[in-house]
């Protein structure tokens, strides 16, 4: 049974804190993605990675960084959390870069920054 696991379902952090969101996949996928979901805005891509130690900016990378030290793990980092980063964060992985490739999503992390 394929799985993408995000480390926390719910997080509450204070403004200015450094926040780590972890994502692990057990499918040996090359590609991993971080999205955020906000009401009325749909899913927006923050960063993605096509290989270990490789990262590319998505549509809204400002205020975020990522780390891919191992193939199975892709971390999203908020260097200094702000209230406008309160959101639902979704991690996904897929086998290849091509369109229509099967992608698997984690269950999401609801982050609240106070």
């Amino acid at each position: 049974d394929v799985k993408v696991t995000q480390s926390s379902r719910y997080l509450v952090k204070r403004t200015g804190e450094k926040v780590f969101l972890e994502c692990v996949q057990d499918m040996d996928h090359e590609n991993m993605f971080w999205y955020r979901q906000d009401p009325g805005l749909g899913l927006r891509l923050i960063y993605f990675s096509y290989d270990v130690k490789m990262k590319e900016k998505g549509d809204i990378p400002e205020g975020y960084s990522v780390s891919r030290e191992k193939k199975e793990r892709f971390s999203l980092i908020l260097e200094s959390a702000s209230t406008n980063q309160t959101s639902m964060y979704l991690c996904a992985s897929s086998q290849a870069k091509a369109p229509s490739t099967e992608a698997f999503f984690g269950q999401g992390t609801r982050l609240t920054v106070v």
């Binding site: 749909g42 927006r44 891509l45 639902m88 369109p99 099967e102 992608a103």
Partner: protein
């Protein structure tokens, strides 16, 4: 535990066929159900459904929600190769919680 289940996981059809994708859910304090199409990176929004029995349509795509039986279907008629994608179902519940299914991969063969 809140969950969203999509079926089938993958589907291969020929151009011109009609397909039906399924999404069932179990959540607390349901607010809405959303369908997305994912081709490359970020999935693109298709429909938001909040009321039972009201069909939403956009071209060859349509969707309907059944809040009593806790499911939604997405229909695509006269499929084209450009319809090949992952179709994601998500359910908004409670205080801005969003639960995604794993998606249905649709492949349309010429």
């Amino acid at each position: 535990e809140d969950k969203v289940v999509q079926s089938p996981l993958s589907l291969v059809v020929h151009e011109g066929d009609t397909v039906t994708l399924n999404c069932s859910y179990e959540v607390t304090n349901f607010r809405s159900l959303l369908w997305y199409k994912q081709e490359k990176k970020a999935p693109t929004f298709l429909f938001m459904l909040t009321s039972s029995g009201i069909e939403k349509k956009s071209g060859r795509l349509s969707s309907i929600l059944d809040k009593k039986e806790l499911f939604s279907i997405l229909n695509i008629t006269a499929t084209q190769t450009g319809d090949s994608a992952i179709y994601l179902c998500a359910v908004e519940a409670g205080a801005n919680n969003l639960f995604f299914g794993t998606g249905t991969r649709l492949t349309v063969i010429p």
